[in-house]
Structures are given as structure tokens and as C-alpha cells.
């Protein structure tokens, strides 16, 4: 594989950039693989990469219905954080933060990880108390957390509405300074390129039509490019999880919902990190290009549409305007939607299933992007060793029937309750 560096850039400039190697090949599927990963998004590609890199399993295929990076890894708002209260979620995502910090070097691909901090705003004394509690829990798990008062917040985001007339005045906020953003599709491409160079086959435009299961054991997948035999199969399909589960006669604690995001026209730098509104569901950051990247609530009803509905955008931006009045003068550049695998407690599932050799990675709700490296890391471990890593030991499928829920926010799919 060609190494990307300033020298290769200069060298290729002399040939008008016509001779760059392809970043990943376009192979036809083999008859059989040791591991088939379904879903060529961030999580699937990261899983394939860590299978090859850490576990030395290179006879791996990643099969993708569309093109890699065309799903939620290219549709999210690129926020990376580990500001969780529960031990299982905090440890899992903090391990992920360590992977993020070295990701550009490790993948020889600039994922533009930019730890600019995230501030969750509080608008009441009760909310400040809740954030103090969450901040303390985070610090006990070794995660940086800072409780900010109103003046400290004002210093960091002076353009927010600090006037006396606002309905939800800013009392303060909880900040994780090490949180940030990254270039989302760069993450998918970086993992794909490295996985490909170690022998992983990335097969695009290959839809899964069914599974071959014999006496409780997975034998392979039936796809639009023929039958592919596999010793082990990993499901990494986010919003399509319920569709594939139905083909396996499985019912999961997951509902599929639509989440929208939008960006404004690019403007000069006004906002350094990520800010979330505490009195409604709205979050915002500014991209390197200057666009204000915004998101908020689910559309609120089961959906596979991958495109949104205007009442939700209006509702989300109402919250946005309450926080940042200057947004009213910006033009909206575009809005889009992605389909989310909403688990019933709001936390993900990385587990084995009742079918031998079939592994499940789902339930990411609207927070899958930040966990891309650690999800791939732990899922690769789970597949390679046929047992859970200690980091995903609590992210099991049976936690729902056993009552060990990870209800970080007490939300899950039932957003209409909040």
C-alpha cells in the first residue's frame, strides 16, 4: 500500500496526480471466508480492520448493500465524546477516546480529529445538580469533566443568548474538554484502506438476501452476488438491523427511527466546540468549512425513509434559535436524515446470539459515530475469541430480560415520553 505523506504528495504532483493507487480494491467475492461482516459503515470497516490488525484474521469480507460510508457514518454530526455516567458506557467510550487520539497516525489517513470540547448547558438548579453528579461519575472513571458556571459559559460561547428575557436562562454547564469532532467519511475511508491493504475484501453493492443456518449454526449468507460461505458472520447494519433480524426469525429490543441533521451556509468562526441545549433537544457545532452543523430530536415515529419531515426540523431549530438568536439570519444549506437502530434503553448491544457463529452489533441509537473505533475493537474481539471483551461485557442482548438496563438517560426508543 502506498503511504500517504508530504513526500508522496510532492512525488505525485509531478505526474498531475494521475498515478495514485486505488485506496481499496473492488474484488469479486470468494466462495468462503472465515468472517463475513455485513455492513460497510464505520463500525463494520473498523471491525474488519481490528480483526486483521489485532487478531490476525485476514480472510474477511465486508459486504455492503450500497457504497461504503454511504450510511450513517456519512450522515452524522461527527461528535465524539465520552461524557457518560454509567460505568459500562463510560469505560467503553473512554477507551474509544484513546483510539481516536491516535487514529490518524494509525490509519495513515487524516481523520481530522479535533478535540475542541463539548458543553452540555444547564437551565435550572436541578439540572446543575444532575450535571455535577454526572461530572463526578465521569471523573471517577478517569474522564475529564468540568462544571462551568454562567460566567464561564459566557466566556466560551459569548454569542449565546445571555439576556434577561429568555425563557430558559443559562445557569451553567458540564464540559468535557477532550471531546470533539472528526471528519466522518474520512474515518470510513481510512479504515477501509487499511483493512483492504491487509487482505480484507470490501464488496460493495452486494445486498444480503438471506442466511444459511443449519442446526443452530451459521453457514453463510445469500447475497445479490451469490452465496458466500462463512464460519462466522457479524451484523453491523445499524438502521437495517430489524430487516436482517426478520430474515433470521429474531425479534430484537430495537425500533428503527429517523434522525435528521442540517447545516447552514458557511460563516466565519463563531463557535469553537460542541454545544447542547439543555431545555430542548438541540446540539450544534461549527465545521472546519464554517457551516453550523445542527441536530436534535428523532422524527418520532418508526421510519426507514432516510429523509426527514419538516415539522421536526422546525421544532429542533426553535430550540436552536432560543439558544443562538444569530442563527435566524443564516440560510440553511441542506438537511438530511439517517435511520437509527434505537435500543430500548438507549445503549448499544455488542453480543453473541443464540445462533452459533452469528454476532450482533446494533442499538447505537443516535450516538454510533463516536464509538466507531471502540465498537470495531470490541466486536472484532467478540468475533475472533467467541467471547465478550470486558469493555462490552455489559452490552449484552439479555440485559433487557435480566433487568440490567443501561438506561443512561432513561429514554430509549420512547422519545415521545421525553
Amino acid at each position: 500500500m502506498q503511504k500517504y505523506s508530504v513526500f508522496s504528495l510532492i512525488k505525485n504532483a509531478f505526474s498531475d496526480h494521475q498515478n495514485w493507487e486505488v485506496a481499496w480494491k473492488d474484488p469479486t467475492p470468494k466462495n468462503e471466508y472465515d468472517v463475513v461482516i455485513i455492513g460497510g459503515g464505520g463500525h463494520g470497516l473498523a471491525t474488519a480492520y481490528y480483526l486483521a490488525k489485532v487478531h490476525k484474521i485476514t480472510n474477511v469480507a465486508v459486504i455492503e448493500k450500497g457504497w461504503i460510508g454511504g450510511g450513517n457514518v456519512g450522515r452524522n454530526t461527527t461528535i465524539i465524546r465520552s461524557n457518560f455516567m454509567y460505568d459500562a458506557n463510560a469505560r467503553f467510550n473512554e477507551f474509544g477516546m484513546d483510539l481516536w487520539r491516535n487514529l490518524s497516525q494509525e490509519l495513515n489517513f487524516n481523520v481530522m480529529f479535533s478535540p475542541r470540547g463539548i458543553i452540555n448547558l444547564a437551565h435550572s438548579d436541578a439540572q446543575m445538580n444532575a450535571y455535577a453528579r454526572r461530572g463526578n461519575s465521569m471523573r471517577l472513571n478517569g474522564i475529564d469533566a468540568k462544571l462551568l458556571n454562567r460566567d464561564e459559559v459566557k466566556k466560551l460561547i459569548p454569542m449565546a443568548d445571555f439576556s434577561d428575557e429568555v425563557r430558559f436562562p443559562i445557569f451553567g454547564g458540564l464540559m468535557q474538554p477532550s471531546a470533539g469532532t472528526a471528519r466522518h467519511d474520512g474515518v470510513a475511508w481510512g479504515y477501509a484502506r487499511q483493512a483492504d491493504s491487509m487482505g480484507v475484501d470490501i464488496i460493495q453493492h452486494c445486498e444480503v438476501e438471506g442466511f444459511d443456518v443449519e442446526s443452530g449454526k451459521i453457514k453463510g449468507v445469500r447475497t445479490s452476488k451469490g452465496v458466500i460461505k462463512a464460519k462466522k458472520v457479524g451484523l453491523c447494519v445499524a438502521g437495517s438491523t430489524n430487516i436482517l433480524a426478520e430474515k433470521l426469525n429474531m425479534t430484537l429490543p430495537i425500533e428503527t427511527h429517523l434522525l435528521q441533521a442540517c447545516v447552514s451556509e458557511p460563516v466565519k468562526p463563531v463557535l469553537d466546540g460542541v454545544v447542547t441545549f439543555g431545555a430542548g433537544h438541540f446540539y450544534i457545532s461549527q465545521s472546519d468549512k464554517g457551516e453550523m452543523v445542527m441536530g436534535g430530536d428523532l422524527d418520532g415515529y418508526n421510519s426507514y425513509a432516510q429523509r426527514g419531515n419538516l415539522p421536526t426540523i422546525q421544532h429542533v431549530l426553535t430550540g436552536g434559535l432560543a439558544l443562538f438568536p444569530f442563527l435566524s439570519r443564516l440560510k440553511m444549506l441542506r438537511t438530511w436524515g439517517g435511520i437509527m437502530d434505537m435500543s430500548m434503553d438507549g445503549s448499544p448491544i455488542i453480543d453473541k446470539t443464540h445462533i452459533e457463529g452469528l454476532y450482533l452489533n446494533c442499538g447505537w441509537c443516535y450516538g454510533g459515530f463516536k464509538s466507531t473505533p471502540v465498537s470495531g475493537w470490541t466486536f472484532a474481539h467478540t468475533i475472533a475469541q467467541d467471547r465478550l471483551h470486558e469493555l462490552n461485557a455489559d452490552l449484552t442482548l439479555n440485559r433487557f430480560s435480566n433487568g440490567y438496563l443501561l438506561d443512561e438517560k432513561g429514554l430509549g426508543t420512547k422519545t415521545w415520553i421525553s
Binding site: N242, T251, L252, P253, N302, M344, K414, W416
Partner: protein, 89 residues
């Protein structure tokens, strides 16, 4: 914006309604021994199909009645609405 035909008030805009989830989920009978699996299925497990889906909606800014809607989850086309006492086949 969805336009939902409330069985009591007629065609109204989505903003008047609140969503209530899968309408085909049945609560286990009260005066009966309920297994862990039955509770599990009732509380957590959902088919969430791509395509036709029978679901509950609440006309929260209208007549405040709950009713059933059959909707396509991929195209958002609404086929039928019915009162809670009625079945959608």
C-alpha cells in the same frame, strides 16, 4: 408533513398528533401467571418492519382520542386509520 385521518375529527396535520408506538403489541393477561419471556416481548421486543406498520397515534391537540394507523414506514403512505375498538386487517 403527514396528514392523518383521525377517525373522530377527519383529516388533520401531523403537528396535532403524538405517536404511541406499535399497536400490535398485546399486554399479557392480568390474572394469569406471566412468564419472563412474555413480559420481555411485551415491554422490549419489537418487529419494527420496513413497510406496513400498524401503530398508535394520539390526537393530543384535538379530540385527545387514541386510535390506530396503518402506515408504510419507508414511504410514509397512510393506508387506513381505525378506532381502538376496530381491527385493521
Amino acid at each position: 408533513m403527514l396528514h392523518i385521518n383521525c377517525p373522530f375529527c377527519g383529516l388533520r396535520a401531523q403537528k396535532e398528533f403524538a405517536y404511541g408506538g406499535d399497536a400490535t403489541v398485546k399486554r399479557p393477561e392480568i390474572n394469569k401467571e406471566v412468564s419472563k419471556e412474555e413480559w420481555d416481548n411485551f415491554v422490549y421486543m419489537r418487529k419494527s418492519p420496513r413497510g406496513k406498520h400498524i401503530e398508535l397515534w394520539h390526537h393530543i391537540s384535538g379530540c385527545r382520542q387514541w386510535f390506530k394507523v396503518q402506515r408504510d414506514t419507508a414511504t410514509h403512505e397512510i393506508f387506513k386509520t381505525a378506532k381502538m375498538s376496530e381491527e385493521i386487517v
